[in-house]
Each structure stands twice: as structure tokens, then as C-alpha cells.
């Protein structure tokens, strides 16, 4: 946070505290009104995004016949970078996945980014017979010890026209690279990033993975395509984003200190006047099946969103000028709004529960007239719409058997609020700490 942001935050807090002391009812009413308006806008916004996902420009879609029709052609050199840290067990699966890619091997430039002091992973990689297109790049030990720092080194050494990043446990669809190239070919020059869909190969492992898979399906199959259809800023997903390498270099790669460097990069692309589109091809990942690790992962993501929001809002007017009003609003609702919602949700859930069970007199006074109407709409309609969107995501992914579990999505939201508050507190105590996700738990 900059000094100006700190002063603003302190002043805002002081103002709220002062208001609560001097005029508690009026201040509380004002806060409730602001939160209610935010909820209402967020609900309508989400509906609009999902509606937009049905528009023709939401996805690049290519059938196998269309890909076959491209041949013979000179495919461009494609760089793949795979950052890994203390994941020796994933090496064989990952190399098998990379070998399975349907792309001319001589046009591939694959780097395994391994930390020089991570002997276990290094040894496991060296033990494999690597094909010529795969090489090991050792990352010298230095701070910050984050994935984006390793990616920046990989970017520097990349030789391809296009570049994609995969995680160690990723299983991209074999024709993904060809689809990305064809998407770039059919896009205007300012489209420099193609985001693939992410989903999980273990969605039925337990209740948590069922929720997680539905959440991802809604996000990558409905919300992000909705954003792409509207040609707006897109917070990139963690992997499987395909870049124009030169433009990425010009933008100086990833922010090594940001724990959601992908999201930050999506905003930076938009600020520089570039666009991101979606391609209908999926990379299969492993859903975190352990609650403790899931909360740690979510904490990192939400902390990264807070970082991203604050970094870009250091100079809000400049951001407004660079993004334009439409993208500026998208950015605030998507990045700032999602964290804000997880932080305020518990208060409103508790208030609703208390009101339903005990009917205390004071709660009524906070919701006068129209505020009550809007709140009731958000409570009864808004929450349902959010659950329904997850169900739609499941249906589109053909996860019909996950839909019943997703009727319990409000519990998942409660878990998100726990990680949201953890992220908020960690942001002040340990802002750059990277809580690494443990993989291989459900294998």
C-alpha cells in the first residue's frame, strides 16, 4: 500500500468509527445501504455476464475438422514453461502430458523451471529420458521465492512466437496449442492473450471438490467467456494462458511479488490497450481435496486479488484513463468486489439468521423502506441466482451428478469468507508469502 492509500484507509476507518459513536443508527443505516447497493449491482452484473456468455464472440470454437483443414501449414514455434517446486512425484505424469500434445515436436520449446536448491525435483527430472524439445532451466535461489519470478526467467529464455504456462499437474487437451494458434490467427492485432478453460479431473472425489469444480465451471465456462464477449478486462486464470511472447516481454512479464500474478497480468494487458479472448479448450487440473490446503490456496488467491486491486488503484484516475470507464467498473467489481463480498458476507448472513430466529427489534431499523426491498431481493433472489449460475456451469460441463451437491453451495461461500478474512489479515502481516498448494492428495 502506498502512503496515500494508508492515509485514505485510516481516514475512512476513523470516519466510520466516529459516525458509529456520534450517530450510530444513521451510520449503520448508511453502511447497510451501501452494502445492499453493492450486492444488488453485483447480482445484476453476474447475471449480465452469464447472459453475455451465450453471445457468439464469447469463445473461439474449433472442431477437429477445422483443425485438420489447417494442415499442411507451418506452425509457429511455441514455448511452454512449467514452473515446479518440490513436486518430484508429478514429473512422469507431466512429461507424458507434454509428449501427448498434438503439435509438431520440432516447433516446441519446453522449459521445466526448477529451483536450483530443489534437489528432489531436479533429480526426478534428470532421471527421466527427456525428448529434445524439453529442457531444464534452473532458477537460482533468490527472493522472492515465487512462481512469477521463475516464469520471468523462463520468459527471458523462451524462443517461441507464442508462450503458454502450465502447472506441473496440468493435463491440457492435446490440440490446445493448435487451437490457440488458430485463435490468434483469427483475432485482431491487439489480442495478445488466449485464455483456455480450466477444470478438474477429480471433481467427484469429495464434497469440496464437487463445489470447487462447479465454481470453476461457472467461472471459466460462463463468467470469463461473458467478459470476453464484452471485450473487457479479464483476470487471467493461473495456467493455460497463451501469450504473444514479444508483447509479454515488452510488458516485463509477471509481477514477481504478486501472489496472483496471472490476475495482475490480465489487468496490465488491458491497461496497455491489449485484449484477451477465450478458446474452448480445457486444461484439466487437480482440485484441492483437503479443506486445510483448500483454505490456504483460497487465501493466497484472495490476498493476490487484494494486492492487485491496491496496486492498480494507487492512481485511480490514471487507471480510469487507461482502462476507460467501462473497464474501470469491471475491474472494481471483479477484483475489488469479489474480495469485498467475501468480507462482508458473514455480517449479513448473521444478521439474516438472527432476524429469522430471534426477531430482534434493532435489526428492522437498519433496513428502512427501499433498503429492505433491495436487501430482500438480494437475500432471496440474488443468492439463489449465484447458486443457479454454479448449476448452469455444472450443466454445461456435463457434471450433472455434481448438481445436487451444489445445492449446498452456501456452505462453500462460508468457507470462502473464512479464507477471505484470513487473506485480509495475512495481507497486513505477510503480504508476499506464497502458500503453496499441495498436489497429489486425491490421486
Amino acid at each position: 500500500m502506498t502512503r496515500g492509500q494508508r492515509i485514505t484507509a485510516i481516514l475512512l476507518m476513523a470516519l466510520i468509527v466516529f459516525g458509529l459513536i456520534r450517530a450510530p443508527l444513521a451510520t449503520a443505516r448508511l453502511l447497510v445501504l451501501l452494502c445492499t447497493v453493492f450486492y444488488l449491482v453485483a447480482t445484476i452484473y453476474k447475471m449480465w455476464l452469464v447472459r453475455s456468455a451465450t453471445q457468439p464472440g464469447a469463445f473461439f470454437r474449433f472442431t477437429p475438422e477445422m483443425i485438420a483443414a489447417e494442415e499442411p501449414r507451418e506452425w509457429p514455434v511455441y514455448s511452454i514453461i512449467v514452473p515446479m517446486y518440490k513436486e518430484p512425484e508429478t514429473i512422469p505424469q507431466m512429461i507424458a502430458g507434454l509428449k501427448a500434445l498434438d503439435y509438431p515436436p520440432e516447433r516446441l520449446d519446453i522449459q521445466l523451471l526448477l529451483e536450483a536448491d530443489d534437489d528432489a525435483t531436479l533429480n526426478a527430472a534428470r532421471a527421466q529420458v527427456l525428448p529434445p524439445q524439453i529442457r531444464i532451466t534452473e532458477i537460482p535461489p533468490s527472493f522472492p521465492r515465487t512462481k512469477p519470478k521463475a516464469c520471468n526467467i523462463g520468459l527471458h529464455l523462451a524462443r517461441g512466437k507464442y508462450l503458454v504456462i502450465y502447472d506441473a499437474e496440468d493435463k491440457p487437451e492435446p490440440d490446445q496449442l493448435k487451437k490457440a494458434v488458430m485463435s490468434f490467427d483469427r483475432s485482431p492485432d491487439n489480442v495478445v492473450c488466449i485464455q483456455s478453460c480450466l477444470n478438474y479431473y477429480n471433481p467427484r472425489y469429495n464434497l469440496l471438490t464437487r463445489w470447487f469444480a462447479a465454481d470453476y465451471s461457472a467461472w471459466f465456462d460462463l463468467c470469463l467467456p461473458g467478459l470476453a464477449a464484452r471485450r473487457t478486462v479479464i483476470p487471467l486464470g493461473g495456467t493455460s494462458n497463451h501469450f504473444n511472447t514479444q508483447v509479454l516481454r515488452d510488458l516485463l512479464g509477471w509481477d514477481a511479488y504478486n501472489v496472483t500474478e496471472d490476475c495482475d497480468l490480465g489487468v496490465r494487458l488491458a491497461r496497455a490497450g491489449y485484449e484477451t479472448r477465450m478458446a474452448e479448450t480445457t486444461t484439466w487440473e487437480e482440485a484441492c481435496s483437503n479443506l486445510r490446503f483448500w483454505i490456504r490456496q483460497r487465501t493466497r488467491w484472495q490476498k493476490g486479488y487484494i494486492q492487485t486491486w491496491l496496486v492498480h488503484m494507487r492512481r485511480p484516475f490514471r487507471l480510469l484513463r487507461e482502462l476507460g470507464l467501462r473497464n474501470f467498473l469491471h475491474f472494481n467489481l471483479l477484483i475489488g468486489g469479489s474480495v469485498f463480498a467475501t468480507l462482508i458476507n458473514p455480517f449479513f448472513w448473521i444478521m439474516a439468521l438472527v432476524w429469522f430466529i430471534f426477531r430482534p427489534v434493532g435489526v428492522d431499523a437498519l433496513f428502512p423502506g427501499w433498503v429492505f426491498a433491495m436487501s430482500a431481493f438480494c437475500l432471496f433472489v440474488g443468492n439463489f441466482i449465484f447458486v443457479y449460475i454454479n448449476l448452469l456451469g455444472c450443466y454445461r460441463r456435463r457434471y450433472d451428478s455434481l448438481m445436487w451437491a451444489n445445492l449446498l453451495t452456501p456452505i462453500y461461500w462460508a468457507l470462502m469468507s473464512i479464507s477471505g478474512w484470513r487473506a485480509f489479515l495475512q495481507f497486513f502481516s505477510n503480504p508476499f508469502h506464497w502458500e503453496k498448494t499441495q498436489h497429489g492428495l486425491s490421486s
Binding site: 423502506g369 427501499w370 448452469l392 455444472c394 450443466y395 456435463r398 450433472d400 451428478s401 448438481m403
Partner: protein, 494 residues
Amino acid sequence: MASPRNKLVEWLLPLLAAILFVGLLAPRGSDVAVRSWTFDGICREMVAGTTEGRQALVGSLWHAPLPTLAGLPAAALLPGGGAVPLVSRVTVLIALACLFRLLLHFCRRSLPPWTGFDCWLITLLLLASRAEAVLEPQAAVTLTVATLTLIKFADWYATRQLEDLVKFAFALALLALCGAPLAGLTLLLALLLPIVALLDPVRRPRFQGLLILGLLPALYAMGIWTLMSRLILSDALYACRFLIRGLTRWQGWSINALQFHDIAALACCGLLALLAAAHRDQRTTLLGLGGVALGIWILVLHGLGFAWAAGTATTMLTLIALLMLIATLQAAHAHPPARIRRGAALLCTAVLAVAWVRGALQEPGYRSITQSRQTRCALLDAIENDVMSRTPYGRIFVCSYRGLGLLEGEQRERFVACLDLHVGTLRERYTRQNLFLLVPRPEAEAALECTVWRHGDIYSHGMERALFAGDWGDWRLYEIVTAPLAEQLDEWRR
């Protein structure tokens, strides 16, 4: 893509048509006026944030939540006694504009533009013949939502698109919130969804997902209604209690219950559905099935003794016949030669026209609203004077939804609207006052309210500790007898 100007015209045209329609058919039947006053009364109470308003919102299947909620913005924007009666008319206007827009869209999508305009005119005429059933907010909103639901279901049936399924699901939820007038259609569509999903080999593998996506919004809406009823009225099934009475007094099936225009519309639906089935036009066949279901629903309403509630279903049946007519013309236009289809469409047009002429020639039996409002004022004055002559501490509780209509636009402190009648609670709340109950004649929906199913029809028989105090036509006054307090006895002795 339609330009903004074209879009403006597309919206303006139906709105103007709705204004003309409402304006030309302004004289309204007395029943319509009573229901509109009740609607205004509910909206007024809701905006004022009273318990009676909240009770009225969820307490009846005939004054269902969705039409009331649709009227709330107008009620909030038009405050004050004089403006309140406008609420129902504004709501009707908006609902009819949406209905016309929907029908126009259906026509234009199915037919060349010029034919769409013709169909629109036919729609206006048909609706005009059923004016008494359209010109009240509940019916107008319900008809609009029902048409939307039916069209969306037919769309989903034809296209299998997820988007159409979602639109249908939410429309069905809205229709469920429109309550009893078209409950038969709601049930039919809810049942048809799994049947279609099971019978269609493409949809069958996705049965589970289709069922959840298609029916969850409607189930959720009903769940929220029930929950609200439990919270506000302490009875989750308050709005449905009357059904026991209806079912125990089943009057049997009688084809005579159908009027000429019902039979005409049903015959058109049947003929066009058969024709569509022969040509494997599933969408039109499905619409015909909706028409037949509505015919059965009208018979059910008569069997339950709710004949007075069949107006909306009858109008909907006419609308379905019209939609089928349009769909048949479209099919004839798209797949020539179509001599039989054109002939059938011509025949149906003639039958519907005869039905319309017959309806238009019938004596409407209108009474002007002004006269009725004067009657209402006179009634309230007479009752108030009567009570004042007995005691200066009188408080009159006006029972039933009709009570809300009776008090609509009146500022009288002595009268209190009362829906959920608990005499004990009233006694506790109004100690030291003489309490009176004003009970409506148990006709139409007033026969289905708690004063009847909870207190055994007090209009005819009175109730425990309620003594008959007067009769004013459709209303009777009862005085609640309470043992005097010691202080009151002392005062009287002095």
C-alpha cells in the same frame, strides 16, 4: 440487428396499444373494480410497511405475491389517497404492454412482418372481448407471465437450447408466484418438463440436470412463499387451507361449465393440434396440449366451486388458440403446399370471430367506479355511525381481503384491516375498547379465507362471543363480547 429507433418503436407501439385498450374499455365490471380496489389496498399496506400488508402479500392464492410485487413500484411512486387507485391501472398498462410485446415478438418471429400486425389486431380484439378478465392487475400480470412461460417452453422444446430452458425455468417460477388462477397450467408445464426429458433420446441422458435446472426456480419460489407464510402468519400452508373445503365439496365434472368461447377456443386448439401432430410440428402440438389442459383446469375450478375464478384461464385459453393460429400460419408459410393448414386456420379464425362477436354482444353489466366508490363511502359512514351510537370506544376490524378494498383510499381511524383473525390477540392489543368485526358475505375468494375455514363461516352463523350487530348488504357487523374490567364497572356505576 434492430436499431435503437426500431427498438423504441417496438416498445412504444405495444404501450400505446395498451393505453388505447385500457382507455377504450375503461368502464369496468363491479367485480373487477372490487378486485382492483383490493389490489390497491394491498399495495398501499405494503408500502406503509404494515403487518396486514405483509400478511396480504403471502396469505392468498388469489391475491398472489407476484402481481402485488409488480404493483409495488407504482404504489411507491404514486403516494397519497387520490393517486393510489391509479396503481392498479398503471400495473395493468405495463403488464398489457409486456403481453403485446411478447405476442408481437412471437408473430414477427414466426411470420412475415405484415402478418404480425394482423395477428396483433386480432389479439387486441380477442382481449377486448374478455376485457373484464384482463383489466385487473392480477389477471393482466398472470396472463403475461403465463404467455411468456408457454412460449419459452415451446421454444425449449423446439430448440433444446440451454438458454431457452433457463428462461422457461424462471418464467415458471414467476407463474408459480401468480398463484391459483392458472395453477393448472403451472402444474402441467412442471410435469411436462420431465416427461419431455425422458421421451427425447437426446435429452434423456441429461435428465437429472434438466430436472434440476428446469424445476428448481419454481420449487425455490414456492419454498420462499411457504417460509414467508410461516414467518408472517405462523402457518406455512395458510394460503392453501381453503383447498380442504373445496375438495370436500366437490361438485363433479360438468361439460356445461364451459361457455361458448371456451368451447370455441378448445375446438380450435384441438383441431390445430391434431393438424400439427399429423405434420410432426411438435411445438404447435405442445401449445395445443396447453390449451386442452386449460380446458380441464376450467372444469376443475367449476368442480371445486370456484367458477368465479375461471376468467383468467378462459382468457389464457383464447390466447393459446391465437398462438396456435399464428404457429399454423407460420408452418403453412414455411412449408408449402399448405392448403389444409390454411383452410383450418381460416376455419378457426371464423370460429374465434363468432365467439368474439357473441362475447361483445353480451350485456357487460358494468357499473361505474365512481358510483361504487360513493357506495363504499356511504357504507362505511353508516357502519361508523351505528357503532358510534353504541359506544364512543368502538373499533371495527374489517375482515378479509375485501376489507382492504373497502378501506382503500379511506383515512378512517375507527376501521382496521384484519386478515389473520385471532380474536384473543385483538382483545389483548385493544384493551378498554369495544371491538366489532365487519365480515363480508362468503362469496368468491371471500369464501376461502380464514374467517370461514377457521371460524366456520361467521357471516352466516356468527361465532363464540361475537354477537350480531347489523347487516349492510354484503357485509355483517358482529360485536365481540368481553367481560368488563373492574375499572369499567366502577365507571358505569358512577
